[in-house]
Symmetry: C2
Amino acid sequence: MDEVLADPIHKFIQLYNRDYGIPLDLIIEPGNEVYHHMPEHINNKWFEYINEKGFFRDLRLIEGSVEAVKKLQEHHDVYIVSAATEFRNSLEDKLDWLADHFPFITWRNIMFCGDKIVDVDVMIDDRAKNFIGFKGRKLLFSSPHNLLLKEYERVDTWEQVLEKLL
Amino acid sequence: MDEVLADPIHKFIQLYNRDYGIPLDLIIEPGNEVYHHMPEHINNKWFEYINEKGFFRDLRLIEGSVEAVKKLQEHHDVYIVSAATEFRNSLEDKLDWLADHFPFITWRNIMFCGDKIVDVDVMIDDRAKNFIGFKGRKLLFSSPHNLLLKEYERVDTWEQVLEKLL
């Protein structure tokens, strides 16, 4: 979900802006996480934000995600598999957010997990760690933190996902 | 989780007892679900109960489950995979219940899903529908509703699971 369907980075920057005046047009440099751009005394604050109820409830959509998932669903079984069990307060928010934006994905096709031990043919993910042990085709969805990785098949946009999978 | 680690049937009977005087020592007959033993005008009530916050928070443990999972974990990667996304209000309760009773299972090894599309070697489940499409070894954990099924390797207790898997 995060950085593939939903945009937590924008939300982090909004919260850092609200609380510490971090500029809203902050660009996260390739290979960096949002906290690499924060002063040291507040660079752990993201972990508090992400654990708050509501953090995941109003995230912006990643461009083109709704339309692309809808199109993929015409030809494939699409599952939304989110590493969410680390964050107790994210579970209801994520389910509600999906109901708002992806109402065509039913509860049967939603999975909140830790390790992504799924038996599927293709995994689209921004975190390379989720590809460990996965035997299918791996599509690394571009996000600032992964831009320096060279060893994966990469997709920069949902348009590129559709080009590859349809 | 349900009917394998946790006991929702006992809770259903408690609630039906509280609201309608259904006897607490009700035995569910082989092949039946709890609602097959309720008068027609209240046999859908279970669906309201299960959707209430708190339903899953205080379920009794299935006998021997904690000790058995702990022992299995010494030799295997154990994942708890629960069909939970159908019930929004169950998610936090299930995570909290697991933290209480199975604190040795971390968030990485917990999965709340719809379809159980997991890439694992062995699945222990009371619902035969969850075995559809699963290529590994299937252990049907006995529960009243599945007692008439003949076509699966069956385990009646957690002791039997350990005998088979250790």
